[in-house]
C-alpha cells in the first residue's frame, strides 16, 4: 500500500521530437560518463598488442573476449555462472530477508538496538574471510558453508543501513502523524518505512556488490565450479585470458545488479529526484 502511494501515474507521453531530443542528450551524457572507461579499454588493447604492457599478464582484449566466447559457446562457463549466481543469490536473498526486517525492528526500538549494537559491531569487524574456516568446521566443505560465508558478509551492509535509515527518520514527521491520530502501524507504514527506503537501497546495493565480491573467497576453498573458482583455477593453470574473462563476468554481474536496484529505487523514490 505504501509502495503504491509512492508511485504517481506518469504524465502524458512526450511527443516524438522530445523523445529524439532526449535521445541526443542521452548519447552526450553517455559519452561524458563512459568515455573514460572506453579510453581505458582502448589503451589496454593497444598497449598490450604493441607491447607497452606485459601481454602475458594483461593479454589484449580480443584474446579475453575470445576466451569468454569459447567458454560461453561451449557451455563450460555457463555451468560456473549458474552455480555462482545460485550461491550469491541465495546468500543475498537470505541477507535481505533477515537484514531488512531485523533492521526495521532494531531501528525503532531503542533498547533492542542498544543491546544488540556492540555484538553487531564485533561481528561486522570480524572479517567474513577470517571466519570462513570456522564456518567450514561447522557446516562442512559443501554448499552450505560457501553460501553462509557470503551471507555473513552480505548481511551487515543492508542491516546497518536499514537501522540507520529508521533511526534517522525525522521525529517531527512522526509527531505530525501522531497529531492526526495515526496508529503505530500507520506511523510505521506511512512515515518510517518510506523515509528509510533510500537508506535501505544504499544498503541493498552494497550488499549486492558484497555478495559477488565474496564469490572469489568462497570458491577458493573446496570448490571445483563457479566463476570465483575459475579465476583462481585459470590463474593456476596460466590461462590468463580465461581468468580475465571470469573477472569481467563478475564485474558485469555486479553492474547488472546495481543497475537493477537503482531502477527499482528510482521507481519507488521518484519524489527524491523530482526537480
Amino acid at each position: 500500500m505504501t509502495l503504491q502511494s509512492l508511485d504517481t501515474p506518469d504524465f502524458a507521453t512526450p511527443p516524438a521530437r522530445a523523445i529524439l531530443a532526449r535521445a541526443g542528450q542521452g548519447a552526450r551524457r553517455a559519452t561524458a560518463r563512459y568515455g573514460l572507461l572506453l579510453g581505458f579499454l582502448a589503451l589496454w588493447q593497444v598497449g598490450s598488442s604493441v607491447g607497452w604492457i606485459n601481454a602475458t599478464v594483461f593479454p589484449p582484449l580480443h584474446l579475453i573476449l575470445g576466451a569468454l566466447w569459447e567458454g560461453l559457446s561451449s557451455g563450460a562457463l555457463l555451468d560456473d555462472i549458474a552455480i555462482s549466481l545460485q550461491r550469491s543469490g541465495l546468500a543475498f536473498a537470505a541477507a535481505v530477508g533477515l537484514g531488512i526486517p531485523l533492521g526495521l525492528f532494531m531501528g525503532q526500538i531503542r533498547a533492542v538496538e542498544q543491546a544488540l549494537d556492540p555484538i553487531l559491531q564485533v561481528f561486522r569487524q570480524t572479517s567474513a574471510l577470517a571466519l570462513y574456516p570456522v564456518f567450514i568446521l561447522l557446516l562442512g566443505l559443501g554448499e552450505l558453508s560457501k553460501v553462509f560465508v557470503i551471507f555473513w558478509a552480505t548481511l551487515f551492509p543492508v542491516l546497518l543501513a536499514t537501522i540507520g535509515g529508521v533511526k534517522e527518520v525525522d521525529r517531527k514527521l512522526i509527531e505530525m502523524a501522531r497529531s492526526y491520530g495515526a496508529t503505530r502501524r500507520a506511523v510505521f507504514l506511512r512515515v518510517v518505512l518510506p523515509a528509510a527506503l533510500p537508506s535501505i537501497f544504499v544498503g541493498l546495493r552494497l550488499s549486492a556488490t558484497t555478495a559477488l565480491l565474496l564469490l572469489i573467497a568462497a570458491e577458493m576453498i573446496g570448490a571445483n565450479r563457479g566463476l570465483g573458482f575459475q579465476v583462481m583455477n585459470a590463474q593456476y593453470n596460466f590461462q590468463i585470458p580465461l581468468m580475465f574473462a571470469a573477472i569481467f563476468l563478475l564485474a558485469l554481474f555486479g553492474l547488472a545488479a546495481n543497475f537493477a536496484l537503482v531502477s527499482v529505487q528510482r521507481r519507488l523514490c521518484r519524489w527524491a529526484d523530482a526537480g
Binding site: K172, R190, P194
Partner: protein
C-alpha cells in the same frame, strides 16, 4: 447539555491551573506555572512572549502532545487527555511528507483519521484550491517554496475540519512579503471557517492583525501571564490609526520603543 448549548460551546478552550516543568541537566525548569485561561469558541487568541517563556510548551499541552504536570485542559467543557479530533496543529515547519504529492499530503490527516483514500483525496483537492495551490496538486514538497509548503500544512490541518486550530509561529520562517499575504490568508480562513485559533507568534503586528485577545507570557516567575483585549474592528487595516496606536502601546509595554 442542550443542543443549543453544545453548538455555542463548539471550539471553546478552558485551561485550569495548568503547570508544566521540565528537567534539564538535572535542574528543574518550571515553564508553565498555574495558568488559567478561557477562550470562547471562534475566538483568535495570540500568545506572545520572549523566547523560551513556554509558548510552544503551552500549545503542545493544548494539542495533547505533552501532558501537564498539574491542571486541566477542557474542550467544549470536557477535560481532554492526549490528542483529539477537535484540534489540529500547524507547526512552524510545514512537516510535509517528502514522498507524497501536495494533494496526498493534504489528504494524509484525513486518512490517519480513518477516512478512505478516495474520499480523503476528493476533500483534499477542495482545500488545496482553497489555499491557492490549484495547479500544484501533483507537485512534491521539494518543488515548493516555503510559503507554498506552509499553505499545504495549513490545508492539511483545515481538511480535518477541526474546531480548534493550534498554530506555533506558522509564518515565522517566511520572508516579509509572503508573511503579509499569509496573514491575510489566515484572517480569511478564520472568517470563513469560524474556527477557534490559538496562535503563537513572536511578531506583535501579526498578533494585532489577527487576534481578538493577546496572552502575554513572561520568562521570570514573578510576572504572571496577562491577557490584553484588542477591541479593534475587523477587517483590520495595518495603517489605521487605531491599529498603529495599539501597536505603539504594546511595543512600549514590551520595552521596545
Amino acid at each position: 447539555m442542550t443542543v443549543l448549548d453544545s453548538i455555542a460551546r463548539r471550539g471553546e478552550v478552558t485551561i485550569r491551573d495548568l503547570s508544566k516543568s521540565f528537567t534539564l541537566n538535572g535542574r528543574r525548569l518550571d515553564v508553565l506555572r498555574g495558568i488559567d485561561l478561557h477562550v470562547p469558541g471562534g475566538e483568535v487568541l495570540a500568545i506572545v512572549g520572549p523566547s523560551g517563556c513556554g509558548k510552544t510548551t503551552l500549545l503542545r499541552v493544548l494539542a495533547g502532545l505533552e501532558e501537564p504536570d498539574r491542571g486541566d485542559v477542557l474542550i467544549d467543557g470536557a477535560p481532554v487527555h492526549g490528542i483529539g479530533r477537535q484540534r489540529a496543529v500547524i507547526f512552524q515547519e510545514p512537516r510535509l511528507l517528502p514522498w507524497l504529492t501536495v494533494t496526498e499530503n493534504v489528504a494524509f490527516g484525513l486518512e490517519m483519521r480513518g477516512i478512505d483514500r478516495a474520499t480523503a483525496t476528493e476533500q483534499a483537492r477542495h482545500w488545496v484550491r482553497l489555499v491557492g495551490l490549484a495547479g500544484f496538486e501533483a507537485a512534491y514538497p521539494r518543488q515548493l517554496s516555503g510559503g507554498m509548503a506552509q499553505r499545504v500544512g495549513i490545508a492539511r490541518a483545515l481538511t480535518v475540519q477541526p474546531e480548534i486550530l493550534l498554530l506555533d509561529e506558522p509564518l515565522g520562517a517566511l520572508d516579509a512579503m509572503t508573511k503579509l499575504t499569509m496573514q491575510e490568508e489566515l484572517a480569511r480562513i478564520w472568517r470563513e471557517q469560524g474556527v477557534t485559533m490559538i496562535l503563537v507568534t513572536h511578531d506583535l503586528e501579526e498578533a494585532i492583525f489577527l487576534a481578538d485577545r493577546v496572552l502575554v507570557l513572561s520568562k521570570d516567575s514573578g510576572t504572571p501571564p496577562r491577557v490584553i483585549d484588542l477591541h479593534l474592528p475587523r477587517p483590520r487595516d495595518r495603517s489605521a490609526s487605531g491599529f498603529v496606536a495599539l501597536r505603539r502601546q504594546l511595543m512600549a509595554a514590551f520595552g521596545l520603543h
